[in-house]
């Protein structure tokens, strides 16, 4: 190993969007022209594509490792590669000013990585890379040395709970499924990550698909399934591509197909592409979708573990849950249970985004206080604005205000303040975000995604949205807050599936913690965060306006007048408050109040 040179280029969706493919190509070209053909470099220089390491905001990230010493570079663009190769790879002198700074290390050092451990280190398209980090040893161990019952007991003892949102104990779910008499059982990996603001499943499948495959093999063995499905969003083409490669490689090695690991157990995996329906993240809707139907949920009970796909006992686990299984089998239940809090064991992968300095994918031990996540790992609020709230759990979750900043992040903690873990999305909001608008945003989403089967969700979410819309447009009425609360509770309590049950959460939690913002909209017809355009008045500061005329051009109702190079003015009797002038002004001369 000594003297070996390895260049890792981050090739997740974030990396590719930032130009990783071109960076990769630049490295190839530089290596060629700098004499990779020449044995001294070629024999010991390797160029790898690796999955996302979580810090997509700094892409393209490149690791250059010389003789085991790793330097991480951030914001690398193709034109910078020439110098990197010349100075660092060949000259062995790292370029300090391009290297990732303190925040990169703070971001990573405060995390605990089980799921993300190998992301960003191994090439997700190479099974040999996965094998080199002890990949498939857990599956081999389970299938060759353990009985299915022993596997279930191990998972039960580990305290692993479903990472898709519900938090149901995974081992218990497996044992319920295994207890059914059946000629066939199925295991389904739920990779239909639909929460806006969540991308952990995408990153894990893109960065380490074999871990998910291995988790599915172990699950299948434990419950006695011979066929598995990965239900994955078609909007994730890279993840699908890498998963297909992983399945082919696993089949080639005899880890999938007939007689796995030389034993008597058969198991194979099929990929089913989602077709764009959020509700299919719900177990019974997902099953309907795999069966080729409209993704309309079915009533539970019977639960899928008893009667699922094609009426057979079925285990549906989320990507992250399954990726937790191999390390639990390898290192044991006690090891896993040593992480996390009392009732929530292990770690949680979180998509930390929004108005925060260090956005990205992180993994924390369950129970870490919100404060540490946002202000340590996340580096605090972007642009020195004030923290207002953090939205967790996506459209099913709630908004947590400043007063709970010390809250431990685990299933129980988040639930106690009216939010939920969900799949682990965390969107940080600052003082410029309007909470009524946020509630409206989520209701717009859930009402569009409602399958339409049950009445409370189909019509109830529509009515909730209508009331929120009139509040943000200045037409809120006295009693609207109470009406919202009543309807939200009724929709929550009488809807058929998880979507309808949790759709009102954003409304309930924002009213609970930010009632004054609702009141300001309704009573004073003001939006305190200055987001709801219809409640604002636009005007132009004469001292800032240079008279460029951009605003007048952008105004669709000709409400802005003024001579060129002279300060302009807005006629408020004509203004429809669309905000176009505010968006186009480059001199901050348009003010809204």
């Amino acid at each position: 190993m000594n003297g070996e040179i390895i260049v890792n280029v981050c090739m997740g969706t974030g990396g590719i969007a930032a130009g990783a493919e071109m960076v990769m190509k630049a490295f190839e070209e530089e290596f060629a022209s700098a004499g990779v053909e020449n044995a001294t470099v070629q024999s010991r220089c390797k160029l790898h594509k690796v999955g996302c390491r979580g810090f997509c905001a700094k892409d393209v990230l490149v690791d250059i490792s010389v003789g085991g010493e790793v330097s991480t570079y951030q914001f690398i663009q193709p034109e910078m590669v020439k110098r990197l190769v010349k100075e660092h790879v060949i000259g062995q002198k790292p370029i300090k000013e391009w290297m990732a700074g303190e925040d990169y290390h703070v971001f990573h050092d405060n995390q605990t990585k089980i799921i993300l451990h190998d992301l960003g280190k191994i090439n997700p398209e190479s099974i040999d890379d996965y094998l080199s980090v002890d990949g498939y040893t857990a599956a081999r161990k389970a299938l060759t040395t353990m009985t299915p019952e022993e596997v279930i007991v191990t998972v039960k003892n580990s305290g692993l709970r479903g990472r898709g949102g519900g938090g149901f104990p995974t081992g218990l779910k497996w044992s319920l499924c295994a207890a059914n008499e059946a000629d066939q059982r199925y295991v389904i990996c739920n990779a239909d990550e639909g929460d806006p603001g969540a991308f952990m499943d995408r990153s894990v499948v893109e960065g380490n698909p074999h871990a998910v495959v291995e988790g599915m093999i172990i699950t299948a063995y434990a419950i006695g399934a011979t066929l598995g499905y990965v239900y994955i969003r078609a909007e994730y083409p890279l993840a699908v591509h890498r998963l297909r490669i992983a399945l082919d490689q696993a089949r080639e090695k005899g880890f999938l197909g007939k007689n796995l690991f030389g034993g008597t157990f058969d198991f194979d995996i099929k990929i089913k592409l989602g077709a764009g329906a959020f509700v299919c993240g719900e177990e019974t809707a997902l099953i309907a979708s795999i069966e080729g139907e409209r993704g309309m949920p079915r009533a539970k009970p019977p639960f899928p573990a008893n009667k699922g796909l094609w009426g057979k006992p079925t285990i549906i686990n989320n990507v992250e849950t399954l990726a937790n299984v191999p390390p639990i089998i390898s290192k044991g239940a006690e090891w896993f249970a040593s992480y996390g809090s009392e009732k929530s064991k292990g770690t949680k992968v979180i998509a930390l985004t929004g108005k925060i300095r260090n956005t990205g994918l992180i993994e924390i031990p369950m129970g870490m206080p919100l404060n540490d996540i946002i202000f340590k790992i996340g580096g605090g609020i972007e642009g020195d604005k004030l923290f207002k709230a953090v939205q967790t759990g996506g459209p099913s979750g709630g908004c947590i205000p400043q007063q709970y900043i010390d809250l431990p992040v685990d299933y129980e903690g988040l639930k106690s303040v009216g939010s939920m873990m969900g799949s682990g999305g965390m969107v940080v909001l600052d003082e410029t975000d309007c909470m009524v608008n946020i509630a409206k945003f989520f209701l717009t989403f859930t009402q569009e995604e409602s399958c339409g089967k049950c009445v409370p969700c189909r019509i109830g979410t529509k009515r909730l949205l209508e009331i929120l819309t009139r509040i943000t447009e200045g037409n809120g009425r006295k009693g609207d807050i109470e009406l919202l609360q009543e309807l939200a509770e009724d929709v929550r309590d009488s809807s058929l599936c998880g979507l309808g049950m949790s759709a009102p959460n954003p409304v309930i939690s924002t009213i609970k913690y930010f009632r004054h913002e609702y009141e300001a909209h309704i009573n004073q017809k003001k939006c305190p965060a200055k987001v709801c355009n219809k409640l604002l008045t636009f005007f132009i500061r004469p001292d800032q306006c240079v008279g460029c005329g951009m605003c007048a051009k952008a105004c669709s109702v000709k409400a802005i007048s003024g001579e060129l190079k002279q300060p302009h003015a807005i006629d408020n009797s004509l203004c429809i408050k669309c905000g176009s002038c505010y968006d186009v002004c480059k001199f901050n001369a348009v003010i809204k109040d």
């Binding site: 009533a299 409602s450 399958c451 089967k453 049950c454 409370p456």
Partner: protein
């Protein structure tokens, strides 16, 4: 048998029964809109919700199997509040033109609105615009009155095996329509009309005729085929204005297009009401009495048999006759005339 408690009543229900079935056996009223015992439970209307001991939230009784020792509450202020909100939401997206609606008096939604006293609506808002006219001869589709209970879709799929209509779109804009929103193109059995709880589906020929409440019912048997489906003829001023069938009959209330919509012949002036005899070759058919007619038929049949032998005569029976009539018919040919030349139109 399963023993359970519903509203403090000890109840014995057969194995496999749902909570709703168990409750109905014990004559406990639970409102429903999307349930029909003849089809698979759907769980969409959320009106049959009940509280079950040990479960954290209300569940639909139509989909939940009854289990031993279960304790069920079908009504309390919480459940009634949820039901009332559900009905109110449905009404907020409904034309509420009961005054001119054909289903008034028979409408489940109207009944629920009355039950919960919903005069005002807290949730007034956008309503679906699905009131397109469907060009077909039999079925009136007023989809803006549809509550999306799915009974029509399910009867067409589960009972008829046709699936001429299906759910389309999703969320608030969900609707039920034939593929590509075309006009209905099926056999028009009208089963969908029969199960619709509101005025969203009705018979075109029923429009403007007296509503069911204004009619007299007469139980009878369909004459179209040997199935002998039970019918209820609804008459007004001695005219049949609608035909229905009761679900407790052997045909479980299911009818075909002929039985349901083919009743206009009853009052047709072209209908035969007496036998007709052509007394002269080339002459007109003239009305005759039964005695004269039967005497004529008997004498002609006897004459032909005597002159040409029994096998010169053959009989063809009708599928519209009852089994008993067909039995007598073949008996007459075999024993009376003495030939085996007897057959039945259903064999062709």
């Amino acid at each position: 048998m399963i023993n359970l408690t519903i509203d403090d009543k000890k109840i014995e229900a057969p194995d496999g029964a749902t909570v709703l079935e168990a409750a109905r056996l014990a004559r406990i009223d639970i409102p429903t809109l999307c349930h029909d015992p003849r089809m698979k439970p759907f769980g969409a209307c959320r009106l049959c919700i009940v509280e079950i001991g040990g479960l954290p939230r209300p569940v639909t009784s139509c989909t939940t199997p009854a289990t031993e020792g279960m304790v069920v509450v079908t009504t309390n202020s919480k459940l009634e509040r949820l039901r009332k909100t559900t009905v109110e939401l449905l009404l907020s997206d409904h034309p509420n033109d009961c005054m001119v609606c054909i289903q008034a008096g028979q409408c489940s939604l109207q009944e629920l609105a009355y039950r919960y006293g919903l005069r005002e609506n807290r949730f007034k808002g956008a309503v679906r615009q699905h009131n397109r006219v469907d060009n077909n001869p039999f079925i009136m589709r007023e989809q803006d009155k549809c509550v999306l209970c799915g009974l029509c879709v399910r009867v067409c799929d589960e009972v008829e095996g046709v699936a001429a209509i299906g759910f389309a779109n999703r969320g608030f804009e969900s609707d039920i329509c034939p593929p590509f929103k075309k006009d209905l193109d099926c056999e028009f059995c009208g089963q969908c009309v029969a199960v619709c709880p509101t005025g969203a589906l009705s018979g075109k020929m029923w429009a403007g005729q007296p509503r069911l409440e204004q009619t007299r019912s007469t139980e009878t048997t369909c004459t179209y085929c040997g199935c002998g489906c039970n019918l209820t003829l609804h008459t007004h001023a001695d005219k049949v204005v609608r035909v229905t069938s009761r679900p407790d009959n052997h045909n479980r209330g299911w009818l075909c297009v002929k039985g349901r919509f083919g009743y206009e012949f009853i009052a047709s002036p072209e209908r035969l009401t007496t036998p007709l005899i052509r007394r002269q070759k080339g002459g007109p058919l003239e009305p005759a009495g039964w005695d004269e007619t039967l005497d004529l038929v008997a004498s002609r049949l006897t004459a032909i048999r005597d002159q040409h032998g029994a096998d010169a005569v053959a009989g063809l029976a009708s599928a519209r006759c009852t089994n008993e009539e067909n039995y007598l018919f073949q008996k007459m040919f075999r024993a009376g005339i003495g030939t085996n030349n007897v057959d039945h139109c259903a064999r062709y």
